[in-house]
Amino acid sequence: MSRRSRWITLGAVWGAVVVAAVVAPFYLEGFWLQTGLFAMSAAVGAIGINLLTGATGQLSLGHAFFLAVGAYAYVYLSTDVGLPTPLAAVVAVLLAGAAGGAFSPIAGRLKGAYLGIATLALIFGGQHVLFNAEPLTGGYNGRPVPPMELFGFVFADTPDLVLLNVPFGALERLWFLGLLVLAAAAAFARGVLRGRPGLAMNTIRDHEIAAGVMGVPVARYRAGVFVLSSMYGGLAGVLVALVFQRAVPDYFGFLLSLDYLAMIVIGGLGSVAGAVIGAVFVSLLPQLLTRYSDSLPLVAEPGSGGVSPAEAARILYGAAVVTVVLFLPGGLLGLATRLRRVIPRIKELRWPNSATAPASRR
């Protein structure tokens, strides 16, 4: 493919994605909108953890905690303190970052899987706090989340709003907020990864000593990336809370952290697109299985004793994590890239005399 035609294809693909995303709420029913919104918030969180684990090589099993900080800080600040909701959201993200910063003496010094075990403390300590600090978190039953209100526009079912004959409820409105937040989060992370910080992070992952010798402050970078990724976690937490309309402590447990790790491994470690693809995959899978459980073999309806959709999804993506690492280094994103390289080559084999033999395959 020539350079120009590649730009055209790329533009067409992106155009299609944007159009599909904007049109979606006019056609999809509530169930899928909600699933899509979860996927968006998961994507934001996964981008954050991919900066940490994929790009810098630091494992974290504690990111569910930062989601909890974001969600509960938003609830607390907007309900109890009475901050305007957008400000509450921003401060919630900053607080999640501060929580990550408070962990930085550990996040900066430990590397890789060691850090993974240490961050288990965030989960178990966090769960303890969530269940016990009742005035703040509502204890076991959680707390209702006030809807976001931006310049007088409320992201809730009331007041009624009908656009092109489609009633625009909370989910439809949040859909666009989610898209904007995700786009901004992705653009920022892409900037970080493509610039000097990204190079430094990759060098730390690949060879810590070499990074240090070349003048990268390794500990400070590790701590910094940890803070950044915890802010992404907090942002994802705020989004999840807005979609759920209720924050319950149980949700922010160890399994959620595992979900996030599965996302980045399946999607592709170290890139923004990989995180987004993985997040969509892992969030859609259980919902798809739930929706079509009666027509799928081996999957039983919930509560009937067989493999429930949630369990089947978990087993599937546990297996996906293993398969991806064994056979598809680079994840689904890596698979797409490889296919893109292989397909022209196959064409070349089929028509050896073809005039369009690629001069620049890359």
């Binding site: 684990t53 090589g57 494992l59 003496p105 550990i106 010094r109 430990l110 890789g112 899987a113 060691y114 993974g116 075990i117 240490a118 288990l120 403390a121 178990f124 300590g125 769960q127 303890h128 706090v129 269940f131 016990n132 600090a133 992952r205 690949d206 000593i209 240090g212 010798v213 160890f254 595992l258 790790l261 599965a262 491994v265 470690l269 493999v307 429930s308 369990e311 978990r314 087993i315 993506y317 546990g318 297996a319 996906a320 994590v321 293993v322 690492v325 064994l326 280094p329």
Partner: protein, 296 residues
């Protein structure tokens, strides 16, 4: 004072069980440099086998089957997955073990469901009176068995050919291979041993005063992670010390919960992790861990 001694005795006994789990964890790390997150599910697999087989086979045979089964599962994970994964960094291997853990834990907890499975142990709920202290018989047995197993393991580590091969691999895998140590066998045996130790630990985590094996057993098993890391991931001594620290802290914190009410309910479950953080703040490599140094 009596309460304190009782709690301490219980703590040491539970700590010895954590030390067993942590020891397996450390052995795998030393032999293959993989941080093994499947450990909790290995433990669950061992316990599950014992619980399911004891009505048919009787307790002792079931225990043997559980130990063998968990060892086999460990060996299979190494043989089928860890050995085949051609990845650059050990961090990615840790993520693979997380994937395996998701698989195993989901399936096992699904099998267990909401049941609480008894393990059919011969000690039941008998208690011993040692002077003023009352302690469950299971706790005494746990301490004895754990101490015996740990001693046997450390002796084997020091004096047998297998132990020498293992230590040589941990020191420098490449040189060990050149000297004729079969790395595949070393790592396979490490996983098998870790599985067997985890199965024994599962038994003692699920007997009286715990009601039995249920979904929450994995959570109990996860307390061995802080035990392993606070002692130092590459140190067998560290695993023992870590296990005891975690066990005693947990027992004391839960025992004096009413006096520590300001810390909230269930502080005993969070305590091992808080202790780990406190220790890692001062010694990032753990108490007995070797600090990584590099000459540039």
């Amino acid at each position: 004072m009596t309460t304190f001694l009782e709690l301490l005795a219980n703590g040491i006994s539970v700590g010895a069980v954590y030390a067993l789990i942590a020891l397996g964890f450390v052995v795998i790390f030393k032999a293959t440099e993989v941080v093994n997150f499947t450990h909790a599910s290995l433990l669950l697999a061992g316990g599950f086998l014992v619980a399911k087989l004891h009505p048919a086979l009787g307790f002792w045979l079931a225990l043997a089957a559980g130990v063998a089964g968990a060892a086999l599962v460990g060996a299979l994970i190494e043989f089928l997955i860890i050995r085949r994964a051609r990845v650059g960094s050990h961090g990615v291997l840790a993520i693979v073990t997380i994937g395996v853990d998701i698989l195993l834990t989901t399936e096992l907890t699904r099998q267990i469901g909401t049941d609480v499975l008894a393990l059919g142990d011969p000690w039941r709920d008998q208690v011993l009176h040692l002077g003023p202290i009352t302690i469950a018989e299971t706790r005494v047995v746990a301490l004895g068995v754990a101490a015996a197993l740990i001693t046997a393991f450390l002796l084997a580590f020091k004096f047998t050919g297998w132990g020498v091969a293992m230590r040589a691999t941990a020191e420098d895998a490449e040189t060990a291979a050149l000297m004729g140590v079969r790395l595949g066998r070393v790592s396979l045996s490490a996983w098998a041993v870790a599985g067997a130790l985890a199965a024994i630990a599962a038994l003692f985590l699920c007997v009286f005063p715990t009601p039995g094996l249920d979904r929450s057993t994995t959570a109990a098993a996860m307390k061995a992670f802080p035990a392993a890391i606070l002692g130092g991931l590459d140190s067998t001594t560290g695993a023992l010390a870590g296990g005891l620290i975690v066990g005693v802290t947990e027992a004391l914190m839960s025992g004096y919960q009413s006096q520590l009410a300001f810390l909230g309910r269930g502080i005993g479950d969070a305590a091992p992790f808080l202790v780990m953080i406190a220790i890692l703040l001062f010694r990032p490599a753990g108490i007995f861990g070797t600090k990584e140094l590099a000459r540039v």
